[in-house]
């Protein structure tokens, strides 16, 4: 305490000067509008900078929460996107009834392999959250795979980077169908099989999911045709496709639930094989 008083006494002139300077600044602030405006400007500049700084730091800690919130918001938007993509393509069903049977659930990919010939993904939600086998999984810019098995909290997904998985696709604005299969090396390189020679196909055409599989809604953009070769022997094209988004680099995904899948299954089982 004595030392504090000593220091105060030692610097009494400086302290007095600063106090009186503060008083005169208050005085000038109250008397002159110009100076008041100037002080406010500098004060705002200072406080704005400080708030910006603290906001940046606290924003960094909130990133995870913010990501989840955005992901959730995206899943609601994704339904609308899927619907708007599919509506002009479904001939009359959705237009007439306004019904869109697909629902979207946002999930996080916690394991994603792409080195093998038959790859699988694991997502962080399972049967407890309503995930069932045979649901489709898509990413923000393309398709990811199909749910194979579920546990209580996790699900196993057959990646489209799987040599045995064939995805039913069609050309946008053209009525040519085919099935998409991974070539087994580059995760973006696929081949499109079973397209008959009579179809009009060019490099650069966009591929979308076809509605035949009942897993994927119609009209999700998948990729682009990068090379077309004709092989007259068997009457099919040999087409190379490049995906829009590398499926091995996906961290957030959406599981698509078809509410009509039971109905469809009953119908299919009624058809004599």
């Amino acid at each position: 305490m004595q030392r504090i008083i000593n220091v105060l006494v030692q610097f009494k002139n400086l302290i007095l000067y600063l106090i009186l300077l503060g008083i005169s600044l208050l005085f000038i602030n109250s008397k002159s509008d110009f100076h008041q405006y100037k002080f406010e400007k500098y004060g705002l500049y200072l406080s704005g900078g400080l708030h910006d700084f603290s906001n940046n730091i606290s924003g960094y800690f909130d990133l995870k929460k913010e990501n989840l919130r955005l992901h959730k918001e995206n899943s609601t938007l994704k339904v609308l996107e899927l619907k708007s993509q599919a509506l002009p393509l479904y001939t009359n069903k959705t237009i007439v009834t306004g019904r869109f049977p697909f629902r979207v659930k946002n999930v996080r990919v916690i394991k994603n392999s792409f080195q093998n010939q038959r790859n699988y993904l694991i997502i962080d939600q399972g049967s407890e959250m309503g995930i069932r086998p045979e649901m489709a999984v898509i990413s923000a810019q393309g398709i990811l795979g199909i749910v194979k098995s579920v546990s209580k909290h996790y699900s196993n997904i057959i990646s489209i980077l799987h040599l045995d998985l064939k995805i039913n696709v069609q050309l946008k604005n053209k009525s040519a169908f085919g099935s998409l299969v991974w070539t087994g090396k580059d995760p973006k390189k696929f081949s499109l099989n079973d397209v008959i020679l009579s179809s009009d196909i060019k490099v650069g055409d966009t591929l979308i999911t076809g509605g035949m599989s009942s897993y994927f809604p119609l009209g999700i953009p998948v990729g682009q045709i990068s090379k077309v070769e004709t092989s007259p022997k068997n009457g099919y094209f040999k087409i190379s496709v490049e995906l829009f988004k590398d499926p091995s680099q996906v961290h957030y995904a959406y599981v698509i639930k078809n509410e009509d899948i039971d109905e469809l299954k009953v119908l299919k089982s009624g058809i004599p094989q």
Binding site: N13, L20, S24, L25, I28, K31, K38
Partner: protein, 168 residues
């Protein structure tokens, strides 16, 4: 109340009134006004209490601001000069403010001139910076500081020499 204190009080009020009612209305070359009240801050004895001197400087500047309806520029400039006067003295005379007056009886003319020049130019610079308070007016600040400083310096030198002559 000894004669020196009485002298201080009289000179405080006379400089205050002279500045407000005479020297603030000279408007030489349009805008230039000498600040003669600096004479009070210059001639105040060096060996007096510094704390009291700071309060005196503040009071003088504040009174001038009040009476001449200016914002607070005189207050800030006079206060700052009264706070920094010991450092200026040290710089220009090479002595500290506690040196008794007898040692300062015949300072060299150059030292005295340097002291006056530093006090006046620093005071004017602070004054015009506070008045304009904007980077855009940098040229105006420097120009006004320069011209007013010269005017004040000449007047202060003149009056000081008269005063000292009559004193001796």
């Amino acid at each position: 109340m000894n004669s020196y204190t009485l002298n201080t009080v009289i000179s405080f009020f006379s400089f205050l009134l002279l500045q407000v009612f005479v020297f603030n209305h000279i408007n030489f070359l349009g805008t230039i006004n000498p600040m003669l009240y600096l004479l009070f801050l210059i001639n105040y004895r060096f060996d007096q209490n510094q704390t009291f001197f700071i309060m005196l400087g503040f009071a003088l500047g504040f009174s001038i601001d009040l009476l001449s309806q200016t914002g607070g520029a005189h207050t800030i400039a006079a206060l700052t000069i009264s706070f920094f006067r010991p450092f200026i003295i040290k710089h220009s005379f090479g002595v500290i403010s506690e040196t008794p007056k007898s040692f300062q009886s015949s300072p060299k003319t150059l030292n005295r001139f340097l002291f006056l020049f530093l006090i006046i130019s620093i005071h004017h610079l602070i004054y015009f910076v506070v008045v304009y308070f904007s980077w855009d007016a940098l040229y105006l600040i420097l120009k006004n500081t320069f011209l007013s400083s010269i005017f004040s310096l000449i007047l202060i030198l003149l009056i000081n020499s008269l005063y000292r002559n009559s004193d001796d």
